[in-house]
Each structure stands twice: as C-alpha cells, then as structure tokens.
Symmetry: D3
Subunit: 248 residues, 6 copies
C-alpha cells in the first residue's frame, strides 16, 4: 500500500525524521511517500497559520493523490484534516487526532506534553475537536517558549520527562502524548521513565493510516461529500478535485 505523508510545514528535516519513523514502522507493508510544503511556514503554531497551511495541504494532497491508499497530515494540530476528509475518497489521518484516538484505546485519561506554551491552546483545541474533551487531562509545557525548536527533543529531554510525570501524578493521566513534530521519536526513548503509556504521534498516525487502508473500506459515494464546485485561483489539481473532475 502507498501512504502519503504530507508535512504542511516547510522544514525538510522534520519530514526526514518523520519519514524515518514511518518507514521503520511500515517495513514492507507500505511505501511511504513524503511531501514537504514549499510555501507557508517553517513551523505552524497557531490557528491563523493552520488556516493557511491547511489550504496548502489540500493542494499538496490533490497533486499526489493518484494511487494513494491513505494520507497522513504530518503536523500535530491537523491542519486541513476535516476538509481533506470531505473531498478525498481515501482515509486521511491527522497526527493529533490519531494520537488521541489511539490513546483512548490504551487508557482512560490522556495528557499532551509539548515543548512550548505557545502550542497549548491549539493542541487543546485538537483534543476537543475529536469529541474526547471529557477524557483530556490537559497540556503540560515548560513555562517559556525556548528558541531552539528543532532540537527540543534532546535539549529538553529531562524537563519533558518531568512534565510527563506530573501529568500522571497531578493530572491523573494514564496515557501521555508527546506532541509536536520536533518531539517525533522521543516517546520510545523516555517511556521507561514515565509511569504511563507514552505515545509518539507520528507513529500513531502512520499506524492508523495503514490500519484504515487495510480495512479496504468504500469511501466513494458518501452522502456527506460536497457537491461539485467551480473555483478560481486554486492549485489546478485541487480545483479539479473540488469540481469532481479528478480521479480521487
């Protein structure tokens, strides 16, 4: 099977790290096709950025959808997820949503730990958007926004473990999600130091994309799909998808 791993951020190094994790998990079950945004933002961290980047993600998916069995939107916060699910006839998975729903099968109360307080509001929104707000024990972050996001996983390792331990002991979490692309790959390294199940969102998302693809579900003909619509100024591939002219 063929999985599109769409990074709506412009940072190639993040795509590379996530692709490595995805390929390690997929083995020979799936071909991972990574894409990195060429417009937009180096690292999405707000609703305004997600509004724009979600549209960019739609265009990236539309252009590469041929022959694809499932799509991963590889940014925690899931820009464009609901929109993509509406128009493409393959499963589309978001990192935050997949991590949260996977967590819901492993425990009762989930927390997110991440590297910056800047992300708190957006990440909390993502959990509530799944409908699982009642099982959410909150986001734990350092007090201040540090500069070196790219190396957060290594530079902040000890602090992140401490935050995760407090999520367990003070907030009652039994599953902890290490959220945000810069922390990709950290979960298995620190799991032994945290008395809860620890989830790596990119691993969860890629695993769920393969799972949904393996179920060979029929997504064509859904009553909920938008009617065909003309458009102006969109990327040509996306314009064709929305006009129901493209094979999706």
């Amino acid at each position: 099977m063929r999985i599109l791993l769409v990074n709506p951020n412009m940072t190639q190094a993040m795509t590379d790290t996530m692709t490595d994790i995805a390929r390690g998990l997929a083995g020979d079950r799936a071909e991972i096709v990574p894409l990195t945004a060429t417009t937009g933002f180096p690292y999405i961290a707000s609703r305004a950025e997600a509004q724009v980047a979600g549209g960019i993600a739609l265009g990236m998916i539309a252009e590469h959808i041929a022959g694809v069995d499932a799509v991963v939107i590889a940014a925690f916060g899931d820009p464009g997820l609901t929109a993509a699910r509406e128009v493409f006839d393959v499963p589309v998975v978001g990192m935050a949503e997949a991590a949260v729903l996977t967590a819901a099968m492993l425990g009762e109360r989930l927390s997110i730990v991440t590297f910056s307080p800047v992300m708190t509001r957006w990440y909390a929104d993502c959990v509530r958007a799944t409908g699982l707000g009642a099982r959410f024990a909150g986001v734990r972050t350092p007090d201040a926004h540090g500069g070196d996001v790219a190396n957060a996983a290594q530079n902040m390792r000890a602090e992140l473990v401490t935050l995760a331990r407090r999520a367990v002991s003070e907030d009652g979490a039994d599953v902890v999600i290490l959220g945000g692309a810069p922390l990709a790959g950290l979960a298995p390294e620190v799991a032994g130091e945290i008395p809860a199940v620890v989830i790596d969102p990119i691993a969860a998302a890629v695993a769920q994309a393969m799972t949904l693809a393996s179920l060979r579900l029929r997504l064509e003909g859904r009553a909920c799909k938008p009617v065909a619509k003309e458009s102006v100024g969109l990327p040509p591939a996306l314009s064709r998808v929305i006009a129901h002219e493209a094979a999706v």
Copy 2:
C-alpha cells in the same frame, strides 16, 4: 467608525445585498467598506471550501485593515474567523457566531432554517463551535438542494416559513436564524408569520461589529497572540501581519 464587510464568496450580488442591509442599520454611525473575494468560490458550502476561503479572507482583511474599527466576515459559516481574531487587533465578527450569540440573548433554544440540506453539517458545526450546542434545536432545510441559490429568499419563501414554524412547534425553538447569505434581508419580511424571534445574520453581525467597536476595548498586547513568524507565498499584507511587521 469604519467596518470592513468581507465577503469571502466571489458573488458580488451577495455583497451588494448585505452592504445595503449593513448601511441601513449603520446609518451615520459607521462607514461600511465592502470587499468581495476575487479568488476561491462563487458560494462556499463545505468545510473544504471554507478551509481555502478562510485563508483568502485573512489576505483580504490584511490588505484593508488600516483604519478599520471592526471586521465582519460576511459568510454564514464564518470561514477564517478564529484565525482572524488571533492576528488582528480589532474585533472580528462572523455571521453565524454573531447570529447565534445574539439569539442567545433573545430566547432559550435556537434553530437555523436555510435553503439547502447541503449546508446542514457545516451550519451545525458553527453553532457547536460557539459552545452553545446545548441550546441548539437543529437545522431545518428543504429535502433537496435546489438550483437557484441566488433567488432562494423569494422562490422558497413559503417553504422557509413552514420550516421555521416547524422549528418552533416540533423542535421547541423560540429564536429562528435564517442562515446563509442568499437569505439576507428575508427575516424582517417573514417575522410576522413565525411565532418566534427571527434573526437576519448579516444584520446581527453588523450590529455586533459596531457594538464591539463602540466598547473601545484594548486588543493589543493579548497574551494569546501568535509569536511573529516568517512565511513564503502568502499575500504580502498577510505575510507582514503574521511577521508582526504591519500596523494592525
């Protein structure tokens, strides 16, 4: 005061109708500055279209923000609302949100009546996004999607009144919102035939925009604003706003 009325749809006739209503309400209290999208869709009707059109709306606002006291996003469904509120330091009002919150001061249970079942999911989402889902009695629409959206207000007048009356008698609504830009202006015409308060969303939105502007609130310096961010490929005015380079 100066109110930006941003229509993220490309249909100029809708903008014209809404501008007339806005000016009738504003009198000499406010100058209404209408804008119509020149890219995107003739009439937004899905989450995918709203994802793209919300980004377009951000660009339109950014280009015309100088000297503006409040912004109305003049499409029921509020594309780009949360994002715009985050980055601009003036009040930003959405048609759906303003109609719903206005309704909440006039009754206990609100319904939306609109011209097509295609809009149901998206409109219901808008109500839930406000947090007032528990006071929502649902969306009532004709069974099928008709062709002539532009003239829905006149062609479907009797059917819309019947739907509104059923929203009252069967769903328990005491406030009815006539949702969707094609129905702008219909509410005062039919209010006498419906045993509930009937709201015109564009009127509610323009009135709320003037209200918020009149309160002379301080929006600069909010802790919730995103940090400055570089970007590639965005409309220049929006790029500057997001980089904190523009006066907003």
Copy 3:
C-alpha cells in the same frame, strides 16, 4: 430609543455610576432611564436574595415599560432575567449574560474577576446558565470578603489586576470580565495592565440592549409566552402584564 436601566439593588450610588457609563456609551443614540429598587437589599449577593430581587425587578419593569425599546437588568447575576424575557415583548439584557456573550465574540476562554469570594458560586452559575460553561475559566477573587464594597474598585485596584493577570497566565483566559456593580467603570482604567481583553459588564449590557433594540425584532406573538394568568398580591402593573391586560 429608550433603554430602561433597572438596578434591583437599593444602592442609588451604584445606579448613578452605571447610568453615567450608560449615557457615555449611548450618546444621543438612546435615552437611558435609570431605576433603583426601593425594597429588597442594598446589594444582592446570593441566590436567595436574587429570588426575591428578581420578583422586585419584574415589578419595576412592568411599571415603566411603556415606550421602552429594551431593558437592562443592572446587577451582575441577572436577577429576574429569564422571567422578564418571558413576559415582556422587548429585549431584556442582563449584565452577566451580556458580558459573557460579548466576551465570546472576543476570545475563546473567559474569566470573571470580582471583589469577594462570596460571589463566586452565584457568578459561576450565571456563566453556566448561558450555556457557555465549557469556555469558562473560573472566577478569581481575593481570599476574604472585605468590608468596603462601595469603594472596591479603587481600594482593591492592584489586587484585582493581579487576579486578572493570573486568570490569563494560569487559567488560560483571553477575555476577563470585571464582575459586580461596584467595579463598574474599572475595566478601561486597567485594560493596559492585563494581557487580555477586559470587559465592563454594564458597558457590555447597555451596548447589547441598544444593539438588540436596533435590530427592530418582532417579539410579540412568540409561542413560548405564558398564557394569561390571574394573580393576587402582585404590584398592579406586573399583575396586568401577567394577565395579558397591559400593553407591553
């Protein structure tokens, strides 16, 4: 237009302060007609007091309703609001409700800061009554109930600012309501010291009353109105309203 500003507390000085704010906001848009209760309590601070004072408010409104375009119940806690909305055919606005719904158009999470822990339960109830409990970040107050309620705005200014800053940094609020009539007028003074939008409830309520009146909605004929009822021992004007004998 003519706005009735009904203070169900017996403290004339509060009415005077709120009337000044209302008139400053209304300019020549509206005539503000203030009323102060002559029975009941100097300052309502509990559900039991609100039960009694709400009935008193109904009587005050009934006696002065002729020619009125909208009513403000000028006590945070909104005694009698739901009841008044049911029987009078003009918009009725409460200070707490109007502040909360206005806040909901300016941010995502709202907090209330007030001068005494005695108010906490009642104020929290008011937010939940709007249906927006999920967007409520709590009430912050000093630890103890101080004696000089009348001068709380000036005597406790620094402490209230500190509480509001904690509502932002610890509770995640992006809008702060300074609740309680004794704090009327404080919001614009301290807004620059608080990294969130700061709302003065009396300003929000008067602005919303004028907004609703300006929409020229039809409230007569609502299906939700109580049937005519005889009564014994009520203020004559209220008795006539409830018997459907009075023009309202």
Copy 4:
C-alpha cells in the same frame, strides 16, 4: 419528625390531595404540616410566575420553620428551591428534583409525562437544573392545553397512559414521572399499564424529605451560606432569616 409541605400555588384542593398522599406515606413517622399560598397564582406554569412564587415560598417557609425537620416545596418546577436551601438549615426538597433523583436510582433514562404542552419548557429546565440532562428522554404532553387542569388526572387518564407508553417505546425511558400537582396520586393507579417504573412526584418528595431528615445531618455552619443582610419590604420572618436573626 415534622415536615413542612409548602404549596406555593393558591389552590387549596391541590394542597389537600398532596397532604393526603403525604400522610398516607408518612404514617406515624412524621407530622405533615401543609401550607397553601395566599398570594401569587392559582397554578404556577411559567418562569415568571415561578420567580414571584419562589419568593412567596421563602416567606411561607420562614414563618413556619420553627421545629421543622425538613421542607417540601410542593410544586413541580421547584420554585424557590435553590434559594431556600441556601438560607434554611434543614433539608429542603423540591417535587421535580426529588422525582428526578429518585428516578435515577430506579432506571437509566427518565421521561416526564404531563397534562399540557405549556409546561414543557419549564419542566425540561427542572431536569437539566439537577445536572441529569444526559439521562433525560424528554417531556411528553397532549398537543393542546386543555381547560380543566384540576381534573386532568381523571379526564385525561387514557391519553396520559398512551403518552407514557410512547415515552417508553419511542424515547427509551425506563422510568416515567407523572409531573404536575394535578396528577398527584395517579401514578400508582396506572403503573400496571406502563412498562416502566412510574413515579408520583409528591410521594417521591415527601419520602425524600423524611429520608434526609432521618439522616440527622448537620446543615449549620456551611461555608456556602450567604452573609447576613439587611432588607426592606420582605415578610418579617424572612427578613430575620436573611439577617441571621432568626433561629432556623
């Protein structure tokens, strides 16, 4: 023990019927002391009427509280309940609340069946006020408001049974509450015709009042009690209670 049965309606015949049921249930466990309102309304059926009648109920309780072990507010809709609970140091029980909480120990989903659509909104409010809205399957009533409220139990018997059966088969209720004082005593008569547990609210309320009194709980000294307050124009006994001058 001594139970105050406070009817905030002015209809003596209702008080008599409810007193008979209460005494039948109490046997020699408790003395039932009935009170009927002498001001207010013959039969409360709206929020506005409940606002006024709740204040009347407070005065009635205050005047007769000496030596009382628990209070029943004997009107479905519970006017004044929260207020009374706040100021009196004995258990106070409402007919609607007691019926709903009793129902919650007998099944999973509860419905209310009553004699008039006029009551629907108010009764639904009562259920939601308990916090058990998620277990509420709705109110079922005849389509129109009939004239002869006093004899509803006998005249409408067959229709009420049909409504209750539909609450079970269509709404999924496993407990049905026959709401409204005119239906007092009907539940045991029709229980055999309805495939669910059928509750008589006055029986539930009196039973719960005796239950709470039997637990010999300490209500004095609660931190949630309002501070002492002066008042003007209240019934003297109530004024003393609110001023903390009366023994309660």
Copy 5:
C-alpha cells in the same frame, strides 16, 4: 420491610459495622439482612476486582431475594449495581450512587474524601456514571496508600477532616461524602468540624433503599428487562433468575 445488605467484599468486620449503622437507622421500620461474600476479595479497590465481585454480588442477591423489598450493594463503587437493577424486580441501591444522589438534594457541588489515592479513579468513575459529573468537585485523598485500611477511620481522622476542609475551601464543595466502607460511621463524628454537609454512604444507601421500598413501585413488566437466557456454570439461583424461572 426487608432490606438485603450485600457486602461483596469478604471482610466480615465491615459488614458488621455497616449492619450496625443500618439497624440504627432502620429501627423497627425494616429488617436488615446482611450478607458477606465468601469468594472474591477482602476489599475491592479496582475495576478488575469490581468486574469479578459484581458477578459474585449477583449470585448472592439471587440466592436471598425471596421476600426482600430492596437491596443495598454495600461497597462504595457499586459493583454489579446496573446489572442487578436490570434483572431483579425490587429496588437496588449502591452506596456510591445513593450517596451522590442524596448529596445532590443537599447542595450544589459534591466532593468525595477517602483514605487512599488508589481509589480515586474508580470513585470518580462512580460519580460520572450517575450523570452528575458536572456537579463533582473531585476526590481528595492522602498522598500515599497506607497499610491499615481497617482502622483508617480512627487512625486518619485528623487528616480526613483536613482533606474535607480543603474540598470545601479550594474545590468549592458544599457536600462532602466520606467514601469507602472503612469510613462507615465517621461522618456524624466529624460533621461539626467541616463547613459542609457530610454524608455517610452506608447511611444514605440504607435510607434510600427503605425510601424506594416505601414507595411501593411496580418493577415487574419493565420493557427494559433482558429476555430469558440459558446459562452454564452460574450459581444456580442466578441462573434461574436470568432464565426467568425464579420468582424475583
């Protein structure tokens, strides 16, 4: 009347204490028939243990149901409650549920105080299962699990009072439940030291069982009852109940 007091724990001393309280409360109104589990666990403290013990409780009830008017499941956490309610045609009451619903008639926000953090998740589950999660202010416990559960009420008295006082002052509780069978009987001893209503769950449960029995409700013929079913390996009495062969 005859009340079955079923302790699904194997600790006879707990049964004895609870039986004493039950008999003190029942006086000559009811005969209390205590049962103690002879298989299972000394003291249930987890969902896994409750899964097993709930099945054991069903068997105990089935064997002794003849002539019984109501059943108390005498373990906080209510193992088997929903299942028992489904199959037996007499009221079945759980200690946690009865305490929570009784609390809901005495105040607005309830907390649970117990002797060990091990119970927190399970007890919180019990409150949410009633549907009253929105009125729940949380569980307060000592930081660590102590060894001597049997004597917790006396050994930890001071600490439990402190926890209860913090539940009031910090969590806003106005009713405190002392949860867990080892604390049976403590509530009346400490009520004077806690500024809230303090509830003893076994007293609440026994009182509610007698209350429900006194209402002489008809539970036979409920549409929600499971259809008759054959089984293998169950205690014979339970097998007959589930096969609809036994008189229940």
Copy 6:
C-alpha cells in the same frame, strides 16, 4: 505477533466466523489465537450477562496471556474491557470501542445498525463509555427481536441495509457500524448500497489490536495499575495475575 481473540460468548460458530475474518486481515502479520467461553451464555445481550461474562473473559485471558502481544475481546459490548486493560500489560481491544474509535477517524457522526432492539441500550452505553457520545447518531434496529440470531446477517440483509440508509438520511450519520457478532463479515458485502463508510467491528478490532501491538508501547509500570491483591475462588491464572504473581 500473537493476537488473542477471546469470545466471551459460548457459541463456537461465532468464534469461527470472526477468526476467519481476523486471519484474512492478519495474513502473515499475526497469529490469531481464538478462544470460546465454556461457561456463561450462548450470546450476551444485557448488562447482567456482561457483568458475569466480563469476569469469565478475564479468566480466559489470564490463562492464555503468555506470549500474547494484544488481546481482542470479541463481543460487541466489550465485556470486561476496562478491567482487562487495568491488569494485563498488553493492549486490550474491544469490538465496540475499536469500531467507534475507528469510525471517528473516517467521519463525523456514527450510527450503529444491529439485528435486534434488545441490544439498543447496551450498545448505546458502549458508545457513551468511549466519551464520543456527542458524535453518536443512535442505534437503528428492526422493531422486534427475531428468533434466528445466528443467521441474522443473511436473513435480514435487506432490512439492515434499509436501516443503515435511514441512519444516513435521517440521523446524519456518515459512518455506520454493523454491530453484533452475528453480523460479522456483512459490512464489505453491503457497503456499496449504503452512502456512508460501513465498518465491520471484528475487522476494526483485530486491525486495531495489531496496530497497538506494532507500536511496541511499554505498559509495564503504569501508575494506574491496581495494587496486588489476594483472592478466593477465582480461576487460578486470574488469581495469580491479580496477586501480581504471574508474568503478564
């Protein structure tokens, strides 16, 4: 990897069908180890039966846990799921929960269609237990309970398709779950006739079990695990697990 497929029903034919589906999905990724209950019920259909069967499932898992990478509880309704998750240190998946969470990644509103109204309450409970009640559009079933459960998939095929189509058109579902073991395998056959995504719970559950196992999460050392406990009368393997004596 090794997946335990535990059927807590006693019907071998169901186990065989589900094992075939599981093996078809697993291919050479996983060994499927099926177990069928030898005590309990032929087909679990109520809470009381689930209470007993959940305990039986715990014993079955405990006896066969050695070398297992994940467990599927192969009964819609998930008897014993929460309990099993608490005590075993491998992922445990339930058919209902897995179907619901999988559905949540494929659409916005999910419905369950099943073969008998007898299951409605229990299945609805399962959805709410996941926390996703707000995205639940209800259970659709035939009006009456038919006799031939074993052949429901073939005998009721047309009726089930009609019910699913109504779940889409009337309830707004965009994902439909065909619930209950007798319908295993039907989903792919009828998907083309239903304008929504159609899910087979056993396929979803087995796919999720393999997914969770593939993530190689660390479940040992979770703070939420119960403390070691002695027991009497349990299956020996389960007794050792609960006493922390067994390797799990």
